[in-house]
Amino acid sequence: MRASFLIKADTTFAAGLDARAKLLLCVAGSLAAVILSSPLSLGLLVALSTALALGAARPATVLKVYLFSAAMMLFALGCAAIIGLAVPDLMRWNVFSLIVPFLRMLLSVNLLLTLSLSTPVRELFARLQQIRLPGWLQIPLSVAVRFIPTFLEDCAQIRDAARLRPGGKITGMWRGLAVPLLFRMLYSADDLAMAAELKGISAAYRGQRAPLPALKTRDRSVLALAFAALCAAAALQYFGPNFRPLPM
C-alpha cells in the first residue's frame, strides 16, 4: 500500500524516485523551513516542491491539501487573535509574519505529500531498515506510516456517523467527530502495533540487513537540484533584499 490512498497512479515521476531520496528531501525541507525566514527563499523552495508534489498527485488533491492547510492556518490565526484581545502588545500583525509561516507549512506539506503519495509502504520499511536508523526510531516511524490509511478510513466512517446525527450546535459537531476519532485512533494504534509486533517488526531491526542499492541517475539529479535550490535559498536569505514588516 502507499502511505496514502488519495491517488492511485504508480507511474508518476515521484514514484520513480528512491524512498531514500524522498526521505532526504523531507528532512532537508523541514530543516530549511525552520532555518529560513526570507519570503523569497521560502517562495523559491515552495515553487520547486510544488512541482514535485504535482509529480506525485493530481492538482485537485494538492489543492485540497492546500485548502486544508489554509483552514488550519486561519484557525491558528483566530486563536492568536483571541490571545491578542487579552494581550494586545503581544500581537503585532504584519503581512510577512503571516506569509512566512504559511510558506513554511506549504514546503513541509509538499514534501510530505510527495513521500506519502508515491512511496509503497514496503519500500519505505525496507529503506528504513537498510539505512540503519536505531530501532527505537524506525519501529514507531514504520507503524506511523502504516497508520495513515487506517486513520483516513476511520475519519471517513466517523464523518458518516456524525452526518447521521446532526449536532445542531458547533459543540455537538465537534463532539461527534473528536470523541469517536480519539477513541478509534487509540484502538487502531494499538491494533497496528500488535500486528507489527507479531509480524516481527522488532526482529527486523535486530537481524541482518540487506545492502543498500545505489541511487539511480534520476535520484541523484533531483538531490543535486535540491542542493542547488537550498544554496540559492540560503543566498537569497543572506544576500537578498531585506523585507521590512508591512503593517496590515
Binding site: R122, V179, A195
Partner: protein, 474 residues
C-alpha cells in the same frame, strides 16, 4: 504444541484477573474451540498464547504458558510468531503491504530471509491457501473470505506449528465460512494445531477435538463437541446454537408494491466516480413493521443502498420518498437511520443516558426527552449502564446503544449493517429482541447480515441484490 498450566493473568490496573487458573493442552494436529460470553477472557487466552500478554500488554501472569515446549515468557512475540501464527478478527488490520504477494513476503523479509527462500515460502503458502492467482492483486480489493485466506497464507509462510484464530468467522458469509472450515481441516491434517476462539459454533462441528467453555475467566466446561449439544449449558453460558438452518432460500421475497406512502425510492441511479454502475432505475417500496434481510454477493451494492437510503451518498438520478414526499439527501437522516458495523463511531457523549438524550434532540420535545431516554434504556437493557461512558462498553452493549440511539429518533427506515458481528448468543438474542421491538413500534427495518442464526428468527422477508446488475429480485 500449546500448554497452559494454571494460568492466571490480570491486565494492568485491572482489579480482577481476566483469566484464572486455566489449564489445557493442545497437541500437534489437534483443534480446540474456546467459546463463552463476550468479555469472558477468550481473547486474553489468544494474547497469552502469542505472547502479546504480558510482553506487549504488560500485566501480571501467574502459572505458565508454553508453545512448542518453550515458555512464552522466555521469547518475544516476534519469536513466538514463528511457532504460533495469529489471525485477527479483521484480517485487514494486520496487512502492511499493498499487494497479496508483498503481504506474504513482508514478514519473511523483516526476519531477514534471503530472496530465494522468500520466493519458495510465498509460492508454497499461496498454493496451500489457493491464492496463487491473486498474488498481484491489491489486498484492499479482496472479498472478506479472500482477505482471510491471504492473512492465513501470510502466517503459514513462516510454517508455524500452531494457528491462533480470534473470531475468524465474524465478518464472513456462510460460503466463506464453509471454505474456511475446509482450509483449517486440511491444515489440521498436515499436523498444524488450531486454537480457535469464536462465538459461532456450528461450523466447528467435525473440525474441533476439544471445546473449552469459559465463564468469567475460568474454564466452566471442557469436552468434545457433543458438550455443546446440551441446550441448557448453551443457555447458561450465553452461547450460540450448534445447528443453524439457512433461511435464505426459504424467506419470502419482499412484496412488490406499486407505491408506498411510508418509505420508498424511485428510479435511483448511482455509480461511484470511476466505478461501474451500481444501480440503475432502482425502485423499492418498504412497509412498516417488516424486517427485511438485504442479501447479495460481495460487491452487489448492499452497503451502497444503505448509504443512499440514509443520505450518506447522493444518487445521480431518482428520489427517496418519506410519506410520498421526496426528501432531499441532506434531510434524510430525519427519516432514515443506519447503525454502522463499528457502532463505536456513532457514540460521542459522556454517558449512556446523555447519548440517548443527545440522539433524541430535534425529534423528541425537550421536556419529554429524559423520560423517553429512560424508557429506551429500559427497553434495550441499558438502564444498569446509564452512567457508563459509551466507549467503555462491550461490543454488544455498544451495538445495542447505537440501535437505541437510532430508534429513539423515530425513523421510518432503520438499517443495520452486520449488527451481530462478534456478538455472543445472549447479546445476539437481545439484539434480535431490540429489532423486533423497533419493527413493532412502526419502523421498517433493513438488515445487512451474513449471520444465518440471527436472520432465521428475526427477518420476515428478503431483498436480493444480484451482483453488479443494478436490478433487484423481489
Amino acid at each position: 504444541m500449546l500448554r497452559f498450566s494454571s494460568v492466571t493473568y490480570s491486565y494492568p490496573y485491572a482489579a480482577e484477573p481476566a483469566v484464572r487458573d486455566v489449564s489445557f493442552t493442545l497437541a500437534p494436529g489437534e483443534a480446540m474451540l474456546c467459546t463463552g460470553r463476550s468479555g469472558c477472557g477468550k481473547s486474553t487466552l489468544t494474547r497469552l498464547a502469542n505472547g502479546l500478554a504480558p510482553h506487549f500488554l504488560r500485566g501480571n501472569l501467574r502459572g505458565e504458558a508454553r508453545v512448542k515446549g518453550e515458555r512464552t515468557l522466555d521469547s518475544t512475540p516476534a519469536q513466538l510468531a514463528e511457532q504460533a501464527g495469529t489471525l485477527f478478527q479483521d484480517p485487514e488490520r494486520q496487512f502492511f503491504a499493498l499487494t497479496v504477494g508483498d503481504e506474504l513476503a513482508l514478514t519473511l523479509q523483516w526476519r531477514g530471509w534471503d530472496a530465494e527462500r522468500i520466493r519458495e515460502a510465498v509460492a508454497e503458502s499461496a498454493r496451500l491457501l489457493g491464492v496463487e492467482d491473486i498474488l498481484e492483486h491489491t489486498v484492499f480489493g479482496l472479498s472478506e473470505g479472500q482477505k482471510q485466506k491471504v492473512a492465513l497464507a501470510s502466517l503459514l509462510a513462516l510454517r508455524p506449528g500452531l494457528l491462533v484464530l480470534d473470531e475468524p468467522t465474524a465478518n464472513l458469509d456462510p460460503e466463506s465460512i464453509a471454505e474456511l472450515a475446509d482450509t483449517l481441516a486440511a491444515l489440521k491434517q498436515r499436523g498444524v494445531a488450531l486454537f480457535i476462539v469464536d462465538h459461532r459454533l456450528y461450523w466447528t462441528r467435525g473440525l474441533v477435538d476439544t471445546v473449552l467453555v469459559l465463564d468469567n475467566g475460568a474454564v466452566a466446561a471442557e469436552g468434545d463437541f457433543s458438550l455443546l449439544d446440551d441446550a441448557p449449558l448453551r443457555e447458561k453460558y450465553g452461547l450460540r446454537a450448534v445447528d443453524v438452518p439457512d433461511p435464505r432460500a426459504s424467506l419470502p421475497h419482499m412484496p412488490r408494491l406499486e407505491s408506498s406512502d411510508f418509505f420508498a425510492c424511485e428510479d435511483l441511479t448511482f455509480a461511484y466516480p470511476k466505478g461501474g454502475q451500481v444501480f440503475e432505475n432502482l425502485s423499492l417500496s418498504f412497509t412498516p413493521g417488516r424486517v427485511t434481510a438485504l442479501v447479495g454477493e460481495n460487491g452487489a451494492g448492499k452497503t451502497t443502498l444503505a448509504r443512499l437510503l440514509t443520505g450518506l451518498e447522493r444518487p445521480q438520478r431518482g428520489k427517496i420518498l418519506a410519506g410520498k414526499e421526496a426528501v432531499k439527501t441532506r434531510a434524510l437522516a430525519r427519516h432514515a437511520q443506519v447503525v454502522l458495523q463499528n457502532a463505536g463511531h456513532q457514540l460521542r457523549m459522556r454517558s449512556v443516558a446523555a447519548e440517548l438524550d443527545d440522539a433524541a434532540r430535534g425529534t423528541v420535545p425537550e421536556r419529554d426527552r429524559p423520560s423517553v431516554a429512560r424508557a429506551y434504556m429500559e427497553d434495550y437493557g441499558l438502564d444498569r449502564l446509564a452512567r457508563r461512558h459509551p466507549q467503555s462498553l462491550s461490543g454488544g452493549e455498544k451495538q445495542r446503544l447505537a440501535v437505541a440511539c437510532a430508534a429513539i429518533r423515530g425513523p421510518r427506515m432503520l438499517i443495520l449493517d452486520e449488527p451481530t458481528s462478534g456478538l455472543d448468543g445472549e447479546n445476539m438474542r437481545r439484539m434480535a429482541q431490540s429489532m423486533r421491538r423497533a419493527a413493532a413500534n412502526g419502523a421498517c427495518l433493513l438488515v445487512i447480515t451474513h449471520d444465518l442464526e440471527f436472520m432465521h428468527p428475526v427477518c420476515t422477508e428478503k431483498l436480493v441484490l444480484p451482483e453488479h446488475t443494478g436490478e433487484t429480485r423481489r
